[in-house]
Assembly symmetry: C2
Homo-oligomer: 176 residues x 2
DNA sequence: CATTCTGTTCAAATTATTTTGAACAAAAAA
DNA sequence: TTTTTTGTTCAAAATAATTTGAACAGAATG
């Protein structure tokens, strides 16, 4: 097999042809989706590539296919593995690590969603606690009307926050 | 009442004192929350300010309180009004428009969430349609295995997408 | 009606985020 | 063992998003 130098200045074992139309389109779409969900585009693109790959892909081949830098891919796969979107895999006759997409997108998304919500719930609780405390500390320096107004409105926020916290388990259950 | 020049180089009717601790803290928290939800910080800060304001606030006073520029506030309130987080209000003896926070945060959030999901569902449907079409167009140029692989995996995505679409109404119902 | 204030828009400046690529260490290949 | 390839990290470059401020037009005020 003829080896060839790639853009990344690396020799690729399997002279990876450029991506065909559908694959390119999914890479694009996955990049957009990632962006909407608050991840870097490149992370989505890597997942898009792996999702339609017939075999696990090595990091250098990912670089090549997406014309992305080593650094980007290194960080990207790390995130994807951490999030559970990608698994590492060993490939016959090759001791390097390869990557493959976890195909159960729905399940992974749900799990990520659940984690995100949990984290945010905790943060929200802390912030609310902080606000109520600040109010207490400041009580003496506020006019009585002002104090009551702030107290009421903060309680309104706390109510919403508790409501969401209570409903989330139900929702994630529904998603299963 | 002594008028005074503000940072914004405007004369403020009501010599607005600097924000007290709790208010400042909510401005900060609301800014962070906005950022998490994908809005500019400044938009959240404006809402935070209005949420604890005893009376409707004019745009120049918002500028002043947040030391933000006119342009920022102009765009910010526009977004907030569009999203339903803020209402315009007339104030006694003053024909300028003032702004007040809609206090039902939960309801507004839910509505925004619902809209976002709806939009995204539509976009997702279109993209999936596009992908399936591209696949058809390309069918003849793909190996049969390759074709089948791509078809199957795209169908997997479509399934997830349809599942989410079907569940969303349930979830938003739950949130009411 | 003249003057001051307010609100909008948008190009330019600022700020935040992402990507690159160089330096390095460690693994594979020769 | 020597050479090549791979993978990580992180400062710097590139890009994306937000904010500012100037220019303008339309209200309010006296």
């Amino acid at each position: 097999m003829a080896k060839q130098k790639t853009q990344n200045n690396q020799v690729s074992q399997q002279a990876s042809e450029p991506l065909d139309g559908v694959r390119l389109e999914l890479v694009e779409v996955a990049g957009q989706a990632a962006h909407v969900l608050g991840f870097p585009r490149s992370v989505g693109e890597i997942y898009g590539l792996l999702y339609l790959a017939p075999n696990p892909v090595s990091a250098p081949d990912i670089c090549d296919a997406l014309s992305a830098s080593k650094g980007s891919v290194s960080q990207g796969v790390r995130q994807l593995v951490a999030l559970g979107f990608v698994n590492t895999a060993r490939v016959h006759g090759n001791r390097r690590i390869h990557y493959e997409a976890v195909l159960e997108v729905g399940a992974v998304l749900r799990q990520g969603y659940e984690q995100t919500i949990q984290k945010r719930t905790i943060v929200a609780e802390e912030k609310m606690k902080g606000l109520h405390q600040s109010l207490m500390v400041q009580k003496s320096q506020l006019g009585p009307d002002d104090y009551l107004l702030i107290k009421d409105r903060l309680q309104g926020l706390t109510k919403v926050q508790k409501r969401i916290k209570k409903l989330m388990p139900l929702i994630t259950a529904l998603l299963k």
